[in-house]
Symmetry: C2
C-alpha cells in the first residue's frame, strides 16, 4: 500500500474495494456492484434506483441486500447519503473517493435543489474540528432555506406586517 503518496485514484471503486479489504470486511458482488453504480452515476441515487441499476448489472441481488450493502459501506465511510424533504434517502460515494465535492442546497418552498461549491463549509468544518473535534462531511449536508425566486415571490419573512392580498384567485 502506498498511502504515503497522494495520487488521484483513477477508479474510486478500486480504491473503495481496497479499503474494504483493508478493514477486514468482505468484498462481495453486491457491494462492488453498488459501488460501481454509484461511481458511474455522478449524481445522488435513491436506494431503489441503485437496486434497479444493480439488478441490471448483477441480476439476483435482493432489495434487502442493497440496503445492507449501503449500510456497511456507510460505516466504512465509503458511502454517504442525504435526505431532502420527506423523499427517500439519496446515496453517493464519500467525498474523499471522488475528489470533487459539492454541497446540496434545497429550497423549502419550491423544492428546487441546487449545488454550492464544495469549499462552502470549509470554515465551518475547521471550527467544528477545533471546538468539538468533529470531522464534518460536507457531502452529507443538505442546506435548507428559501431560494431567491421564492423569497421574491412570497416576500420577506421578517415580522414586518405581511401585506395580505385580498382573496382573488
Amino acid at each position: 500500500m502506498d498511502d504515503g503518496v497522494q495520487h488521484p485514484t483513477p477508479d474510486p471503486v478500486v480504491e473503495a474495494v481496497r479499503q474494504i479489504r483493508a478493514h477486514g470486511e468482505r468484498v462481495t458482488v453486491a457491494r462492488t456492484a453498488v459501488l460501481r453504480v454509484l461511481a458511474d452515476a455522478d449524481e445522488h441515487l435513491s436506494a431503489d434506483a441503485i437496486f434497479a441499476a444493480v439488478s441490471r448489472a448483477a441480476p439476483g441481488v435482493h432489495r434487502t441486500t442493497i440496503y445492507r450493502a449501503l449500510d456497511a459501506l456507510e460505516r466504512l465511510d465509503l458511502v454517504a447519503f442525504t435526505r431532502l424533504r420527506h423523499d427517500a434517502a439519496t446515496y453517493h460515494l464519500a467525498g474523499h473517493l471522488v475528489g470533487g465535492t459539492h454541497v446540496l442546497v434545497r429550497c423549502r418552498l419550491c423544492g428546487t435543489v441546487s449545488h454550492a461549491p464544495g469549499d462552502l463549509l470549509d470554515e465551518v468544518a475547521s471550527r467544528l474540528a477545533a471546538e468539538q473535534g468533529f470531522a464534518l462531511d460536507p457531502t452529507a449536508v443538505a442546506l435548507t432555506g428559501r431560494c431567491e425566486t421564492c423569497t421574491k415571490h412570497v416576500g420577506p419573512l421578517d415580522h414586518t406586517h405581511v401585506n395580505k392580498p385580498p382573496r382573488h384567485p
Copy 2:
C-alpha cells in the same frame, strides 16, 4: 402594548398565529395546538410525539391532521424539520420565532447528536445570500460527520478488525 417598537416576542405562538392570519390562512385548533406543543417543548419532536402531546391537550385531533398542519406551518415558514439518519423527521419552530437557534451535529458512527452555536453558519448564510440570493435556515440543518471519540478510534465502526487477528479456533 404593541407599538412599532421591535421587541422580542413573548410568546412565539401568538406571533405565529398572527402570521397565519396575515397570510390569509386559517387559525384552527389543530394548528394552534401543534404550535403550542412545539413552543413548550424546546427540543425537536417527531410527528408522533407531537400527535401524542396534541392529543393530550386537544383530544380528537387525527394523526393525519398533525401532518397536514405541520405541512401548512412549514409552508408559512413557521415550522421546520430535520432528518437524522433514517429516523422520523423532527419538527421545531422556525428560528425567527424563537430567538436562540442552534445547529444539529450528528456523528454518523455512534449516532450521537450534539448542538453547535447558532452562529456557526452565519458566514455560510451570508455567502449563500450574496452568491445565490438563498436565505438559509440554520435551524433546519443537520451536519453529519464523525465525532471526536469515533475519530480517535480510527476504525469505521465497532467491528474494526483493521489488523486481523490470527483466526483459528
